[in-house]
């Protein structure tokens, strides 16, 4: 089953060219890997709606835009469950987001921060408040409704971000290096929490990571991006054996485990 389809999605940012044409499995955790600047976050930004695919895709990699006669079929599209979302505003997309940091508005308490995930103008019913409390309890932050983010540890802040994703209940969860700012010891516990939440909701998870252990531990599938293109897309067992490029070999270690 396919959750996300990127069809001929091309994007130029400054002098960097990106081109994605891939499918992401539904109800699974897919790890997105690659060197810094290769385009991992750009892939997430495209799906989240922070970037819009270019109108026409480059004929050849690196040659820019040779044609002005873009046809509809040559325009990049992003489909979620068969529906084209490429022109939708980020808020209209079936997506929840978790960044590495600053996921919560620092001056607002957790109830407000998570409540904004339900209603952007913070019109919350009693039932909504109960849902928020339940979500906080689920991520291990029961009773933290009135706490301000600066009074929490980095791990607790990421848990709160998970709680917001939980109440939003969107079919896609995009995580951009969510554990990179945490101590190695904490990462395991957070990954376990993510796995549990994923299993309960059956959502589709896309997680950008720098950590091969995290790929092995969390993911069902994995992508490796190099120079703005997806070099490898495979189930995780196969992915860990691949050494398609020096970059991938450097990421996974020289010899297959």
């Amino acid at each position: 089953m396919t959750a996300i389809r990127l069809e001929n999605v091309a994007l130029t940012l400054g002098d960097k060219h990106f081109f994605f044409d891939t499918e992401i499995a539904s109800g699974a955790i897919t790890a997105v890997t690659g060197a810094s600047g290769s385009g991992k976050s750009t892939l997430l930004n495209l799906i989240a709606g922070f970037e819009t695919p270019d109108k026409a895709f480059p004929g050849k990699m690196g040659t820019g835009f040779p044609f002005g006669n873009a046809t509809k079929s040559s325009m990049g599209r992003i489909l979620v469950d068969g529906k084209d979302i490429s022109r939708l505003h980020p808020a209209e997309r079936p997506v929840s987001l978790v960044f590495q940091d600053n996921n919560l508005f620092g001056h607002l308490d957790l109830l407000t921060n998570i409540g904004l995930g339900i209603s952007p103008s913070l019109k919350l019913s009693a039932a909504d408040r109960d849902r928020i409390s339940a979500a906080l309890t689920r991520v291990g932050l029961g009773g933290f409704e009135k706490r301000l983010p600066p009074t929490l540890s980095g791990g607790e802040r990421q848990r709160a971000a998970f709680a917001r994703a939980l109440v939003r209940n969107r079919p896609l969860l995009l995580l951009d290096e969510p554990f990179a700012a945490l101590d190695p010891g904490l990462r395991g516990a957070m990954a376990a929490l993510l796995c549990d939440l994923h299993r309960e909701s059956g959502n589709t998870v896309l997680i950008v990571t720098h950590d091969p252990d995290e790929v092995a531990r969390l993911a069902d599938h994995a992508l490796f991006i190099e120079d703005g293109r997806i070099l490898v897309a495979a189930p995780v067992a196969e992915f860990l054996q691949r050494r398609d490029s020096p970059g991938l070999a450097a990421f996974l270690g020289a010899n297959p485990a």
Binding site: F99, L116, P120
Partner: protein, 541 residues
Amino acid sequence: MLTARQRLVALSGGGLVLAALFLFVGLAIARLVALGGWAAALAVVTDRYILGVLQFTLFQASLSTALSILFAIPVARALARQRHFAGRIWLVRLLAVPMGLPALIGALGLIAVWGRQGIANQGLSFLGLSEPVSIYGLTGILIAHVFFNMPLACRFLLIGLERIPGEYWLMSASLGLRGRDVFRFIEWPVMRRILPGVAGLIFMLCATSFTLVLTLGGGPKATTLEVAIYQALRFDFEPPRAIGLALMQIAVTAVILAVIALLPAPEDRGLTLGKPVRRLDAGRAGARLADTVAIGVMLVFTALPLIAVLVAGLRSDLMKLVAEPIVHEAALTSLVLSLSAGLIAVVSALAIVHAQQAAAGGGLLLRGFSLALAASSALVLLVPPIVLATGWFLMLLPTGDVGAFAAPLVAAINAAMALPFVVRLVGPAFREHRIRTGRLAASLGLSGWARLRLIDWPGLRKPLLMGLSFAMALSLGDLGAVALFGSDNLMTLPWLVYSRMGNYRTADADGLALLLGLICLALTVAGTLPRAETPEEDRNR
């Protein structure tokens, strides 16, 4: 990293400056108190005229502050939201211009735009409005204070808004926050933290504003304490009233300074390396319209008076003006005064900063000394230049010829005015320089002249010149101290502009105003340019 001798030199230098400053300010206050005493203080609180002046001072300052901030909020919001459009950087620079412009020059430009014959009233009458806006009186004072302080508020707010982590904007777009939600949950909380400090500063500037009220205020109904002091001394010659007003002014600034000290300092929370800021909400039609209006109104309001000064100045006979002996004389006087004031301010600031460094980590006595050094800035702010000048004016009155002392006093008052700002400019640079070079210089045994020439001057030249430039701009544009002492003996450029304005020789005033404005702006730009970051160089050192 100082030897005992170096330390002693540093401490005594700071002590000397501190003593001179306290003496200079203290003598003026002592004179006021001695002449007036309790009788004056009592007379002040019962004098209807003085109470009226006090009331108006506070009333116009409150209104000016509120209007400046209300105007600044949508402009700062618009500039923060629209991050990419042609000329944005020039708009942000435009916001810095009023700060470097002498108040008198700004007043001239505002009269040209808002005066009876100005563009604003012509436009209004064209629209069929018969009642013209009067630039004189409360309206004029408010327009002028907003002209000078809205950009200031705007800059502070913009800096705050631009420090919001990039993730917030992505998250707010993803969560579907609309304009008013973004304002309520993101922008306003940030502004709310900044505004008390900004409001305190603007209120202080408006409550002690002299030149603008002098040129635009209308009669006894629209006068502030500072202008009333000036009138009491120069026109009515009623020293007791001047004393009462001066004491009242000190009380008012003391209260304002105390309130500012109590206000929460803007938080300096650690910035995480966030994502780059991308404002997805910038393109919405409503946001675009609101931002265009806010930025457009700001541009017209701020730029028109500047353009008016430029156009009027160019229309005047600049060649003839530059050839006039009195202009030469005034220019020379202004140059000498501002250079003296600038040098005094920079040397004093350096002595203060140096002594603070030497006193750091010392015992109780040294800590007290360090506190006194830090308080010197507050002392200068507590006693506005006009009050300082009044004290000295009254002290020198018995000598029969106040004018003879005018030049050194004006230079000293201008230096004192600039001191807090120069300390703030030079202080961080000096500390940084010492951290970088202190240990190495000490281990090499460098001291005295060799250290000054090889280590300190190359490292500190730039911040010191910046401080000098800023202090000179402040002194060059100052009308207050000169107005009180000014006679035919002491004709500075601003005083010349002011007297030509009064004598209906407005073309001359316009030409001189343009020259003075350009000089002051150039000096301010040189004095406030951000210090170039050179990490590479530092590492190699």
